[in-house]
Amino acid sequence: MAGMIAIVVTLLLVLLLARPTGLYMAKAYDYNPSGLDRVYGPLEKLIYAIGGIHQENQTWKRYAATLVISNSVMILLVYLVFRTQAYLPLNPAGIANMDPSLAFNTAISFMTNTNLQHYSGESGLSYLSQMIAIVFMMFTAPATALAAVFAFMRGLAGKPLGNFFVDMTRAITRVLLPIAFVTALIFIAQGVPQTLEPAAVAQTIQGGEQTIARGPMGSFLSIKELGNNGGGFMGVNSAHPFENPNAISNLIQILLMMLLTTSLPFAYGKMVGNAKQGRVLFVSMAMLFIVLLGVSLTAENAGNPALNAMGIQHEQGSMEGKEVRFGVAQSSLYSVVTTASETGAVNAMHDTLTPIGGMITIANMMLNTAFGGVGAGFMNVLMYAIIGVFLSGLMVGRTPEFLGKKIEGKEMKLIAVTMLVSPFLILVPTAIALFSYPDTLSNPGFHGLTQAMYEFTSSAANNGSGFEGLGDNTLFWNITTGIVMFLGRYFSIVALLAVAGSLAAKKTVPETTGTFRTDTGLFAIVFLAAVLIVGALTFFPSLVLGPIAEQLTLKP
């Protein structure tokens, strides 16, 4: 009961924050002069001067090229930091240089907002790497996605797309840095360490010795959640008592994960001048989210039938791989939030979730439309909205329109290919892994299939959580997931920017009585149907073979 109240209160807080944040974002990204320029202008001017950036409008091709080139430069720089960290300062634990394939994987992982981790922070990274490589990318990756989504929205609104460097800078100065700084201090007050001192050594009560890893974690944690990054400072991420000490830190983490992604529909409504359509999209996604959360909670509360049958006291639900301070309610909520927002932080081990609870986390990543990661998720949502309009247009035999622009062959071809890329990136490598590298799976049977599928789903959706029993620090997993993350990220961004560029160049057609309205309840249903039909048709067979089959084997 208390668990349910906590969940309702949390979701109400998310709801309360979404609209004001969205309106703030729309203002922050408005190229017309505003009061915000007075606050942030001087710092931004300095950044543009040092970067040699002229703030001219870019074509979609130039915008996309700048995005990919700048991100590639960052990947290269961070790769070099990982490969040389042993020689660099701020390495009190004496951590060695990272292996080439792992450094390749990790650099791409953090640049693509995935934060898949095939290393453990305690033993794999120096403090300097955590700061100038990981935290650096935890700012620039969501800033890149925010830039892309606002350029996309400008295109839909028929405006020039803008300038990538300006958009990325504004994300950092106006949104990410201020919020991250304040919430970092709140986390530290709750007990998250923030120190450059090496690990502490304790003489335990039983007469042993305990080495306690710590580090500059508070500043890391806030941007990890706010930017939907999700990579942990420690190996077990936000299940570590230092990375999530209590119920309050857990609540703030959930709010931060949802903050920007739930605000985007409102920012969109403002940018394209159709607030109602933004609300319709928000409500549709919220409904999808609530259904998924309900299923997960039911499964986790019911627990593991095989264990329960031993006659023990199992009122707490499924506690394997969970922490007592969070219990089932907060762990289940966190698992749904982190996959809905494509953050990838975990406060319980997803590998140990009940099969149905685990399936919900995968389904969230496969659909990638119950909010989705900051920026990239909402672009995906708008893509499904256009697919919905297109399907409706086919049914009545009329050229579909979206925001007064005709959706024609060129746009639909780009969208159709983008839509197919994600299942291709998930299912084909999963099949290869199962066939060629079954020894890396730590679980026998159906769960092994789910483990491999989860890894590629998480990579393609740029989520980054894992079924961590997987032996994933091998050449095969490092290279394949690195490629999947890269394509999962940049293919859709570039293709959708092309759609935006094409739509922006079109004449607006006047709305008539025959126009299919895209700000109604009917449109919400069409949108959800597009998401579920495409998602179900693509992924249902593999879910039957994995989690559903596993659930059926759990007999008392």
Binding site: A133, L177, H240, I248, L307, Q313, T352, E550
Partner: protein, 190 residues
């Protein structure tokens, strides 16, 4: 070419601003405002020796202490982790069966029906500092028998060390095992 140069310059700039500047600024502020938390909430004994962290679980294997949750890494806090057993993993079943047998041997007073599941399951981090209040209570008969302390006195101790849900609804009630054992030792010393 110009894009490449700008990319390199702005990347290095953000590396300095977000990578170094931001982290160091927060570290400085934290060390001034919350030095105790920032250093890891360390617990010291009366001589000032560090004996653990309030937030990090510690290994208690001797029978006269309250035990924490199962940890495959035995609470070694230079790392973190769990075996990641799926519900259908055969080794999970074997481990739980063995734990139940061990419980029956060491706690003949308490029936398996009253054995809470958090004592039979591996935590997510392997460093969980807490157990449920029920899990602490289930260990009272054993500790009373081994230390000679009155069960009522131990009951009171568990009650004092139980932290309730925040605001009455957030999180779960929990007992910090390290604090509980420190207080237990203090009582025994008297």
């Amino acid at each position: 070419m110009k894009v490449l140069a700008s990319s390199l310059r702005i990347s290095l700039l953000f590396m300095a601003l977000c990578g170094l500047g931001y982290n160091l600024a927060v570290t400085g502020m934290a060390q001034i405002l919350f030095p105790e938390q920032a250093d890891g909430s360390l617990v010291q004994d009366d001589d000032g020796t560090v004996i653990g962290s309030r937030l990090i679980g510690q290994l208690f294997s001797e029978s006269e202490f309250f035990h924490g949750r199962i940890s495959s890494i035995e609470y070694q806090a230079d790392g973190s982790g769990s075996p990641n057993y799926a519900p259908s993993h055969p080794e999970l079943m074997e481990r739980v069966t063995a734990s139940v047998e061990e419980w029956k041997m060491n706690n003949p007073e308490v029936s398996v029906r009253d054995l809470p599941i958090d004592l039979l399951t591996n935590s997510a981090s392997g460093l969980d500092p807490d157990i449920s209040p029920e899990a602490a209570r289930a260990q009272i008969p054993r500790i009373s028998r081994l230390t000679g302390m009155e069960p009522q006195q131990l009951e009171r101790l568990v009650q004092e060390q139980t932290s309730q849900r925040t605001f009455g609804f957030l999180g779960e009630p929990a007992v910090n095992v390290l604090q509980l054992n420190i207080e237990l030792q203090r009582l025994l010393a008297r």
